[in-house]
């Protein structure tokens, strides 16, 4: 099965996103913030997809995105922001930092699936 990671400081959101990705055919690893994600990524196989919240303690999602995109081994990993940030400037900032897609909370399974389909990563 394809591997994915969900980074969100809300355990409820982590659980919901992991369930959605599980239903779409992914095995999901979860992380509570950007630093936790980098630590876990260093010890696991490279995921195909990472969903990233923006506002988190320790290391936020934007900082994680910039850091991960500076590491060549994650060049081909699809990274999608899933966040409450809804200003167009934030969307642009995330895209410029290397996000492949952007979902504004609240989301549904359909929304996640449709966005992944755009990226050629629909149901596995």
């Amino acid at each position: 099965m394809a591997l994915a990671m969900v980074i969100d400081d809300s355990s409820a959101t982590r659980m919901i996103l992991a369930r959605i990705l599980g239903e779409l055919g992914y095995t999901v690893e979860k992380a509570e913030n950007g630093a936790d994600a980098l630590h876990k990524l260093s010890k696991m196989s490279r995921p195909e997809l990472i969903l990233i919240d923006w506002n988190m303690p320790v290391m936020n999602g934007y900082e994680f995105l910039v850091k991960a995109r500076s590491m060549p081994e994650y060049d081909n990993v699809t990274m999608m922001m899933v966040t409450t940030e809804t200003e167009i400037e934030q969307v642009l900032k995330a895209l410029e930092a290397g996000a492949n897609e952007y979902v504004m909370k609240p989301f549904t399974k359909d929304i996640i699936d449709e966005k992944l389909s755009l990226l050629g990563l629909g149901a596995r």
């Binding site: 969307v91 642009l92 995330a94 897609e101 952007y102 929304i111 449709e114 389909s117 755009l118």
Partner: protein
């Protein structure tokens, strides 16, 4: 309160006659969920009372009739729905039209049953993004829908956060939309490409320009065979010879119409008009289709 069998039959007949949508008795849940809000808006206590009002003036042109008909249509849509039709538009259909119509420099695309306009604007974005050479062409993307409210929404081009979350690539969001409060307004360079008007596919058709491409997706599934045949016959007349028809993933012309060839393109397919009736030689390039009487539905 559940509808009586008599009221359900009256309602089903009204919906069939005004929209050609077939409501079978197992759809009673749908009727209740769609019409309870209408009953509240009209100010009556129940769907039974709503039906009584409708009986007094059972036409789609009455206020209650239009509200009932609109409520029973399905407006599910989102940007770049199913993705593949837009891939084939980009990779095959528009390039072939550019090849074929270099001198004519017109492109007409119809988004039939356009709902709130996401399909029409997705088409506009494909053209803007991938075919800058068409900037000097006369492009008409025509959206039609049975619902006046949906047509107005298409013209406005304003979408909620949930709607822009659905299927719209983020790079296109930042390029073609501006945020207005909690909503998102599509920019004028796209709204100027899209025109919208009220049209009942199962009723009398207004004058339409000859179309190069028709998007008629996830619409025929709601109609009976006779209505499907009548609609496809008229679609074939609206299309230029060799024009393309895109249906929903679960829809087909098989056993409905012999006027189309199924064309495989990559991992998807579309339908190509075999020709259809030719217009008189004097007809100008962007011409109008003569009125065609509907078959089987007297309204």
């Amino acid at each position: 309160m559940a509808l009586s069998a008599n009221d359900f039959t009256f309602l089903a007949n009204f919906v069939k006659n005004s929209t050609a949508i077939v409501l079978t008795p197992d759809k009673d849940y749908l009727v209740e969920s769609r019409l309870n809000p209408v009953a509240r808006r009209v100010g009556v206590a129940s769907i039974t009372d709503l039906v009584s009002k409708l009986r007094a003036n059972p036409t789609i042109n009455s206020e209650v009739g239009s509200m009932v008909a609109e409520a029973m249509t399905t407006n599910e849509t989102y940007f770049f729905r199913d993705v593949k039709p837009f891939d084939v538009l980009k990779s095959e259909l528009i390039p072939k039209i550019i090849e074929r119509k270099g001198a004519d420099r017109t492109l007409n695309i119809w988004s039939a049953a356009c709902s709130s306009g996401q399909e029409a604007y997705s088409i506009a974005m494909v053209i803007k993004e991938h075919f800058p050479m068409l900037s000097s062409w006369r492009i008409r993307i025509v959206g039609t829908d049975i619902s006046r409210a949906m047509v107005e929404r298409t013209k406005e081009g304003i979408f909620s956060q949930i709607e822009i979350n659905r299927g719209l690539p983020a790079p296109l969001l930042v390029k073609y939309f501006t945020k207005a409060g909690s909503e998102w307004k599509i920019k004028s360079d796209l709204t100027s490409m899209v025109e919208a008007s009220v049209m009942n596919l199962a009723g009398n058709w207004p004058m339409l320009p000859r179309m190069d491409i028709v998007f008629l997706r996830n619409v025929l599934i709601y109609f009976d065979l006779q209505t499907k045949r009548a609609i496809l016959e008229k679609v074939n007349k609206v299309l230029v010879p060799g024009g393309a028809l895109l249906l929903g993933g679960s829809e087909t012309t098989m056993n409905v119409s012999n006027d189309f060839d199924r064309i495989t393109s990559g991992n998807t397919f579309y339908y190509r008009s075999k020709g259809g009736p030719q217009l008189p030689p004097s007809t100008p390039p962007v011409s109008r289709v003569p009125y065609v009487a509907p078959r089987g539905n007297a309204f």
